[in-house]
C-alpha cells in the first residue's frame, strides 16, 4: 500500500515537472517576444502536425530504420558474443579488431555506407546497426566471462558439461550485462538512423527536418525532434519490459 502510493507520488512529480517546463516555455516565448522561427511555442509545435508533411509516413520510416537497425544489432551482437565465447581462437583473433572498430566514430562511416549501399531505408538501417551493435557485443561478451572460477571448479567436480555450464551459469549471468548494453544501444540506434537520413534520403523524420529547415518552419522541426525522441522512448520501454520479463525483478541490483 505504502509502496504504491510512494511510486504514484514519484510519477506525479515527474509528470508535474514536465508540465511545468511546457507551461514556462509557452509563457516565456509569448511574453519575451522571441520570433516564432527562432523559438516556437509548444502550441505552435503541436499545431504543426496539421501541416501536410506526411508525419505518419515519415515517422514510420524512421521507426522502421531504428527498430530494424536495433534488432539486427541485437541478433548480430549476441551471436558474435556467443561465437567468441565458444571458440576462444576466434575471440583471440577478432576481439582486438572489435576494440579498434569501437574507436571509429561510426557517424563518420555514414557517407561510405551511402556509397556502398546507395541511399534509402536499407542503408540507414545499416548505419543504425553499425553504430549500436558494438556495445551489445562487448557487454554480452563480458557478461559471459564474468563467472567466478571457484564456481566453475564447483560444477566441474560434478562433471558438468560445457552446455550445462553455459545454460545454467554463463547465459543467465550474462543477461543483466546484455540489457545494460541494449539500453545504451537504443540512443545510438536512433542517432544512427537520423544521421543516415541527414546524409541522404527521401523520407523519414531526419529528411523532413532538412526540408522544413529551408522554409524556417521551426515548429515542425521541434515536432520532428519530439517524434524522434518518442521513437527512442518507446524502444527503451520495450527493452525495459523485455528485461523485466526475462531477468525479473531481482535484476535491480545489477548494473555494469
Amino acid at each position: 500500500m505504502n509502496d504504491i502510493s510512494k511510486t504514484a507520488r514519484r510519477y506525479a512529480w515527474i509528470v508535474l515537472v514536465h508540465l511545468m517546463v511546457v507551461v514556462l516555455w509557452q509563457f516565456g516565448v509569448t511574453f519575451s517576444g522571441i520570433p516564432d522561427y527562432v523559438m516556437p511555442t509548444p502550441e505552435a509545435t503541436v499545431l504543426s502536425l496539421g501541416e501536410d508533411y506526411g508525419w505518419v509516413h515519415n515517422t514510420f520510416i524512421t521507426a522502421a530504420e531504428v527498430f530494424g537497425g536495433y534488432c539486427l544489432a541485437v541478433i548480430v551482437g549476441v551471436s558474435l558474443a556467443l561465437i567468441f565465447n565458444w571458440f576462444k581462437i576466434i575471440e583471440t583473433l577478432a576481439m582486438p579488431l572489435m576494440i579498434s572498430l569501437n574507436m571509429i566514430p561510426k557517424v563518420a562511416l555514414g557517407p561510405l555506407f551511402i556509397v556502398w549501399f546507395s541511399y534509402g531505408v536499407d542503408s540507414n538501417i545499416l548505419i543504425a546497426f553499425s553504430i549500436c551493435f558494438l556495445p551489445i557485443l562487448l557487454t554480452m561478451e563480458r557478461g559471459l566471462k564474468e563467472v567466478d572460477p571457484d564456481l566453475i571448479d564447483l560444477v566441474r567436480i560434478l562433471k558438468a558439461s560445457r552446455w550445462q555450464i553455459f545454460m545454467k551459469i554463463q547465459l543467465p549471468g550474462s543477461l543483466p550485462y546484455l540489457f545494460s548494453g541494449m539500453k545504451v544501444a537504443v540512443v545510438l540506434a536512433v542517432a544512427g538512423a537520423i544521421v543516415g537520413e541527414f546524409i541522404a534520403s527521401e523520407e523519414g523524420l531526419g529528411y523532413l527536418m532538412l526540408q522544413v529547415q529551408v522554409t524556417l518552419d521551426t515548429a515542425a522541426m521541434f515536432m520532428a525532434v519530439l517524434l524522434i525522441t518518442l521513437i527512442g522512448v518507446i524502444l527503451y520501454g520495450l527493452v525495459l519490459l523485455l528485461e523485466y520479463l526475462i531477468v525479473g525483478q531481482n535484476s535491480k541490483e545489477t548494473s555494469v
Binding site: L151, L154, L158
Partner: protein, 254 residues
Amino acid sequence: MSEPFIKLSGVRKTYKTRGQEFLAVSEVTFDVNIGELISIVGPSGCGKTTVLKILAGIHSHEEGTVSIGNDTNPFDPTKDIGMVFQQPLLLKWRRILENVLLPAEILGLPLKESRERAQYLLKMVGLEGFEKKFPDELSGGMQQRTAIARALIHDPKLILMDEPFGALDALTREKMNLELLRIWKESQKTILFVTHGIQEAVFLGNRVIVLTSGPARMADNIAIDLPYPRLLEIKTHESFGSYTRHIYKHLDME
C-alpha cells in the same frame, strides 16, 4: 579399525606459470577415517586450497598418492564431493531452493526427491521459510548456510570446506562453527575444514593438520581430545589453550 577413507602420502605439487616453477605443496601425508571432521590450518598462501583441490580432483599432483574410498565406503569422485568456498557463490537469479538444487540438476538426480531433500537440508541449516528468497535478500551467514545445503544436496560422502566462514564477522563465525558441528553430527559426513584460524581449527576438528608455508609441509597432525558436543566455553579450557599454543609455536617458528 578398518582402512582409512582418505589416504594422502608424499603428495607434491608444483605450479608452472610463465616458465616459472613454484613448489606449492610438498610431502603432505595424512589419513582420514570415515566420519571424521579434520581441520587443516596454516598461514595464507601455504597451500591449503591446493591440497583441497588435489583431493577434489581439480588439480593434478606430480608425486605421491591420493586415494579416497575403501571397501565399506566406495567413493565416486563425481558424486561424492560437496564443496564450500569462502564466497557462497550463489546464482543470484535463482531462488534459495533452486540454488541448493544446482548439483542435483547437473548430476541429473530425480527432481521430486531432490526438492524434498533440499527442503529438508534448508531446515537443517536453519533456513526454513527462506526457500523462495533470492540470495541478495539474505545475510552473508545465511548465504553461506545455503552453500552448505547445496554441498549436501547430492548426499556426498566427503565435504571439502575452504575457509567457509572467512568472510563473516567474528560473531556470525562463532555461531556458524556451532552450526557446523551440529550439521556434522546430523549428517555424519566426513569433513575437511580448511582455515587459517587456529582457534577455529581446534574448536571444530577432532584432529588438526598443521601446514607451514613455503612450500606447504606437514608440521603436525594432532588429535584434539575434547568431547563433543563442544560449546563455545571450551575455548576457555586449559587443554584448549594448550592445543592452540602448541599450533602457534609451529607457525611462529618457521
